[in-house]
Amino acid sequence: MLEFINFYLVPGLVLGCIYTLGAIGVSLLFGILRFAHFAHGDMMTLGAYLALLVIGLTGWPAIAAIPAAMLGTAVVALVIDRVSYRPFRSSPTIIIVIASFGIALMVRSAIQFTWGLEIESYRTGIHRPMVFFDSLRISGNHIQIVLTTIVLVGAVHYLLSRTKIGKAMRAMSDDPDLARITGIATERVITWTWIIGAGLAAAAGVFVGMDTQVNTFMGWNLLLPVFAAAILGGIGRPYGAIAGGMVIGIAEELSTYPWIGTAPLLSPGYKTGVAFGIMVILLIWRPSGLFRGRVF
């Protein structure tokens, strides 16, 4: 039982946090700009590498580098939006999807050009996990990741439900034409959507680096589960994305638990396929997701 919690449930929770932060951004962007942002994974990679830069310069712990990484990634996202996505605002959205596909590779190759292709990590050496009640072992990094996620999600919740810009975002997500008629400054809403989406993606990227290591392909590998989480939560539904991210993250980790007999239920090599499996079942059975998002 304790082995289950230590090696499956807690890592699943941590992975769920990472997916959640990515999926909130994807879901918000889809709701407001109406396109699947394919460069979102590489925004995560960018955040992770910006944190690496900050850590290298200051020697701070990874968690302290998160605000700088979020800010830097948000600025890059705004520049990309201005240069590459904005000219297509009135074109069919699928053109922006193609553009974002190209942006994903450009961001990745720029990162590879700057930092090289080697795998990096924030801290070297062995970290001892904290031990609770004699046998419950949880690493300090994992506690930090979960707590920071709770803070970030809380902040997003506050922003969406209490502030004017958050209400404008929800209005635009529900009905863009009506929002425009009622005088909502749509470009301002879009700016904030990018700041939130890219910021959360950067935080998720730093979490991956804290949990394992940093490499230039990490974002691409995260893209599929993040999309799956956003679809599971119902696209355009940021609260659903939280549930979606948690379900996908925990399901991925639990899929390798030896539920039947002693062998893992699913070979660990196929762990990343779980998200896709869940997504296919959803697309067949309930494309609107668990929380009745938009169906297209």
Binding site: I95, A99, I103, Q112, F113, G116, G269, Y270, T272, V280
Partner: protein, 325 residues
């Protein structure tokens, strides 16, 4: 001097061979995106299915992977098209009734799952080491002739695929596809079964992607999971089609050859750099191709050879036949 000329000639032959293979894949993508407006972001998946199907069927028996069944190459290529078509049918049945973004996500998913399978199921694919000894047609003709003969095979296949897709586009089927792309509600109202037509186009295009995969495996005499990387197969083909002119089959072929030439020649340039710089310069190549895509999308969104609308083409013909009084 003569040796250098020979080297340049052999390079051009290799360039055209691979460019031609990409042209087949780009024609497949044109069927999906250019003609039908279906966003397939998982070209690598169909490519991989085709490549491995043909490789397993045509290699001599080996203990390292499933089969080799030692079948003739043309049979392997045919099987690769069928295999890719079957997978496309399954994907299409699930995703084509949804909005195009979902299809994009689902096709990426398919491609990634296939990569996982290729890496993990070593009994079938020899894992990351890949399948070697894939037969290449006309291999035993000696150095210049075997390459030239293979190039001829590639050209014949490109021409055949071109004729087939061109005929399909000019047939009523192609007109329905275009109508669905422009306005699917109107096509539905006109009594067309939109989902069925889309499914047909999706399977049709995917078959050529599978064929392209098989041709690659036979051309290199080897196929491994790295060849199915999304950058080289999916992204490059998209850039080819958009630069060439989506919706136009000749544009797809031209785009494939031009982009492949740029890609391949920049590789030679980076080859002159010292090793540590060369690795970085390689990443810069990807950046530049991405930039090229952005510029073309924003400034020349119709590509080098833009799509000709059937009505405009018909109008010019009728003008020629009956000159205005």
């Amino acid at each position: 001097m003569e040796q250098m000329m020979f080297g340049i000639m052999m390079y051009l032959v290799a360039l055209l061979t691979i460019g031609g293979i990409y042209a087949v894949i780009a024609l497949g993508l044109n069927m999906h995106w250019g003609v039908s407006g279906l966003f397939n972001a998982g070209i690598a998946g169909f490519f991989a299915i085709g490549a491995y199907t043909s490789a397993i069927l045509t290699t001599p028996t080996s203990i390292k992977h499933l089969g080799g069944f030692d079948l003739p190459v043309w049979l392997g290529m045919l099987a690769s098209m069928i295999a890719a078509g079957i997978v496309a049918y399954a994907v299409g049945r699930i995703c084509l009734r949804l909005r195009s973004d979902y299809l994009a996500i689902a096709t990426i998913g398919i491609a990634e799952i296939f990569r996982l399978v290729l890496k993990n199921e070593s009994w079938m694919t020899n894992g990351t080491r890949g399948i070697a000894n894939v037969p290449k047609p006309f291999e035993d003709l000696g150095t210049p002739w075997s390459q030239l003969a293979f190039l001829a095979v590639v050209i014949v296949i490109v021409a055949a695929v071109y004729v087939v897709v061109e005929r399909a586009l000019n047939a009523p089927w192609g007109r329905v596809m275009r109508a669905i792309r422009e306005n699917d509600d109107a096509a539905e109202a006109a009594g067309k079964d939109v989902v069925r037509f889309r499914l047909e186009a999706f399977v049709f295009g995917a078959m050529f992607m599978g064929l392209g995969g098989a041709m690659t495996a036979h051309s290199f005499k080897f196929i491994g999971p790295e060849a199915t990387e999304p950058l080289l197969t999916t992204f490059l083909v998209w850039v080819m089609l958009i630069i060439g002119g989506s919706g136009n089959n000749r544009g797809a072929i031209l785009g494939a050859i031009i982009v492949w030439a740029i890609w391949s020649m920049t590789q030679i340039l980076t080859g002159f750099l010292p090793p540590d710089l060369a690795v970085r310069a390689a990443t810069l190549r990807v950046f530049l191709v991405g930039l090229l895509l952005q510029v073309v999308l924003q400034r020349f969104s119709r590509g080098l050879i833009p799509e000709k609308s059937p009505t405009a083409a018909a109008a010019t013909i009728s003008q020629k036949v009956t000159p205005a009084p």
